[in-house]
């Protein structure tokens, strides 16, 4: 007799391999070639840094998504919070000119604050009016995209606009490239510091403990006398803040200004990242690298095999389904997500 778990696990993994392969086959390509192209690119000299480059915002937003999800809150607003952080940071950036390293830190903090303000707003609506944070964060994503579209054509437009984009940030706010000849910037360090911070917050602090209890059993959290309402706002603010920080890091490290459609899709991918990492801060950078491979490799797939970029989203969805079905396949694992 084959054990049930083995059967179930093979079903889940088989499904996960089958779905993207089917789409690749329909597009007239071999799934094997897709896999080898991805791996060769991702571990190649140029691909390596691009994978890490994409993993930076995914790690930051993923940490935020995981932090909220631990508390039972779904933050699907990563895209909007990223934009909010970028807007606030870029808006104040000119004041930081000449501050040196302090300017860079201030720039990043303002990014965090921008995203946190948006997140806190969502948390407030949730605790005060019981407005679904899922719907509100999604709606704010659409609002944020339009606000960027307006701002980069008006109030913060580039003085010499070749195409719609904001003015450049002062050099003090730029995250330097850390590996010469690549685009890989010091945001990587920011992301790793945040991973450590949140691993500590999650395990060692009252906030981490209370939010985990609240997520596992809101009734128990209330009964235990936690300030549940404040907790909702604080958790959403921190979660949004990480999205905002990702926005500032993207501006400071990659674009040096706000551009249209910046960071689009990272918010949704970060949900997959958080789930794969099972909401564990330390595991998030690794999950983010996996998606970094998909994002960075999608370009290679498009160039070499003429496979359209949205294949990434199909893979993303498959991974989400696969990881969440693992609870069913391996029931003894503790169910967190």
């Amino acid at each position: 007799m084959i054990p049930v778990r083995v059967v179930r696990l093979s079903l889940v993994l088989g499904f996960a391999a089958l779905v993207p392969s089917l789409f690749v086959l329909v597009a007239g390509q071999s799934p094997w070639r897709v896999l080898t192209t991805l791996v060769l690119y991702a571990f190649g000299p140029q691909g390596r840094s691009e994978v890490l480059l994409h993993a930076i915002p995914l790690t930051l937003i993923g940490l935020g998504v995981a932090f909220a999800l631990r508390a039972g809150l779904f933050n699907i607003g990563g895209d909007g919070q990223l934009v909010a952080g970028a807007i606030v940071a870029v808006f104040f950036a000119p004041y930081f000119a000449g501050w040196g390293i302090a300017g860079l830190i201030a720039f990043l903090i303002f990014g965090f604050v921008g995203g946190a303000a948006l997140g806190a707003f969502v948390g407030y609506l949730r605790e005060r009016f019981n407005a679904s944070e899922i719907i509100v964060t999604i709606m704010l994503n659409y609002v944020a995209v339009q606000m960027v579209s307006y701002l980069i054509r008006g109030p913060i437009a580039d003085p010499m606009p070749f195409w719609p984009r904001s003015y450049p940030i002062p050099p003090d706010c730029v995250l330097p490239v850390i590996v010469s000849g690549t685009r890989l910037h010091a945001g990587l360090i920011v992301a790793l510091v945040m991973v450590i911070v949140f691993a500590v917050v999650q395990r060692q602090t009252v906030l981490g403990f209370q939010s985990s209890v609240f997520g596992a059993n809101p009734g128990a959290a209330t009964y235990a006398g936690f300030r549940v309402k404040a907790l909702t706002i604080v958790v959403m603010a921190i979660s949004g803040g990480l999205g905002g920080l990702a926005g500032a890091v993207e501006v400071g490290g990659v674009y040096q200004r706000i551009v249209e459609n910046m960071g689009e899709g990272f918010g949704l991918a970060a949900i997959a990242v958080a789930l794969i990492a099972r909401l564990e801060p330390v595991a998030i950078p690794f999950a983010a690298c996996l998606f970094g491979i998909f994002f960075a490799g999608a370009g290679a797939l498009q160039r070499e095999l003429a496979l359209p970029f949205p294949l990434v989203w199909i893979v993303e969805a498959t991974v989400i389904f696969m990881v969440s079905a693992l609870h069913w396949a391996l029931p003894s694992r503790t169910a967190e997500a």
């Binding site: 789409f23 329909v26 597009a27 779904f74 699907i76 609506l125 009016f129 019981n130 407005a131 679904s132 899922i134 719907i135 509100v136 999604i138 709606m139 704010l140 659409y142 609002v143 339009q146 606000m147 579209s149 307006y150 054509r153 008006g154 949704l268 949900i271 997959a272 789930l275 359209p308 970029f309 949205p310 294949l311 990434v312 989203w313 199909i314 893979v315 993303e316 969805a317 498959t318 989400i320 389904f321 969440s324 079905a325 609870h327 069913w328 997500a337």
Partner: protein
């Protein structure tokens, strides 16, 4: 205000709200039975593409709509499998569905009918002769797409089934208390599966409406949050199909108004108008809660 202008906005509002409304009907049934499908957005996207592809391929918009209902059914069946059989968190499965819809529709569109909008054989509005051309009320009540009348009938019928029939009582029991439903020997998962599948079909119709009736083309990401607005409408209507449907028309009206305002005030940055329906959804959720509190 000019009555003709008002009538124009009303007629357009109904037209623009219909895709949300169709999806909201089935989602009300699903949520009434106790299962959310926040993946409606992804189902609509997939359906919008499949409907466009089907009508381009076969030349028949009705066949395209049938394909869209089929893909809606399939995706909903997958959601039911994940949630009811594998015990996956319904919100996570829903988010997966959203992302899948985004990927599937854009990927398949680029490979088949092209990423650029291709003209799709569309469904024209009904023409009842003088009735449809009657000033002011003609275009509002007698000049909509056939799907709009089907939607209204569906909303009424769904509400009737849920509120007035034995089956509806069972569905509501599943949503209110699984334990009680089990005690009454109601096949909970069968009822919930049926409601989720019904939700998939109406979301399929909603997506098809968008590409085949409203725009006559498939554009990547064209659902643009309407699936989530449908979920918001169900929250607003407190899971009552007809009210959720009418709330959707309210969002259609907001959309029609903002488009009209764009032409009336070209000096105003259009982005501030585009966001109105999304902000309206947030405001509606907040106000909706206050009504609940007062009723309680």
């Amino acid at each position: 205000m000019d009555p003709l202008l008002l009538a124009g906005i009303l007629a357009a509002g109904i037209r623009l709200g219909m895709a949300i409304g169709l999806s909201a009907i089935g989602e009300s049934a699903a949520e009434r039975s106790g299962v959310f499908n926040i993946g409606i957005e992804g189902v609509m996207l997939s359906a919008a593409f499949v409907a466009a592809w089907g009508s381009v391929r076969t030349g028949s918009p009705w066949l395209g709509i049938a394909f869209a209902m089929l893909i809606g059914l399939l995706l909903a069946a997958f959601h039911a499998l994940m949630v009811l059989v594998l015990g996956v968190n319904q919100f996570i499965s829903g988010i997966g569905m959203v992302i899948f819809g985004l990927g599937f529709s854009s990927f398949a569109a680029r490979l088949t009918i092209g990423a650029k909008p291709t003209s799709v054989p569309g469904l024209p509005p009904i023409d009842l002769g003088p009735l449809s051309h009657f000033p002011v009320i003609g275009p509002i009540f007698f000049g909509q797409s056939p799907l709009a009348y089907i939607a209204l009938a569906l909303a009424v019928a769904t509400g009737w089934v849920i509120n007035r029939t034995a089956l509806g009582l069972e569905i509501r029991a599943c949503g209110e208390s699984v334990e009680v439903a089990h005690a009454l020997a109601i096949p909970v998962k069968a009822r919930q599966t049926a409601c989720i599948l019904f939700g998939g079909i109406t979301a399929g119709l909603g997506g098809a409406y968008l590409s085949v009736v409203q725009v006559h083309a498939f554009v990547e990401g064209m659902v643009a949050g309407r699936g989530f607005l449908a979920v918001a409408c169900v929250m607003l209507g407190r899971k009552r199909p007809l009210i959720a449907f009418l709330a959707s028309l309210g969002f259609g009206l907001a959309e029609a108004t903002q488009i009209r305002l764009q032409t009336l005030y070209p000096g105003l940055p259009y982005q501030f108008l585009v966001i109105l329906p999304y902000l309206a959804a947030i405001v509606a959720l907040v106000i909706g809660h206050r009504n609940v509190a007062r009723a309680a």
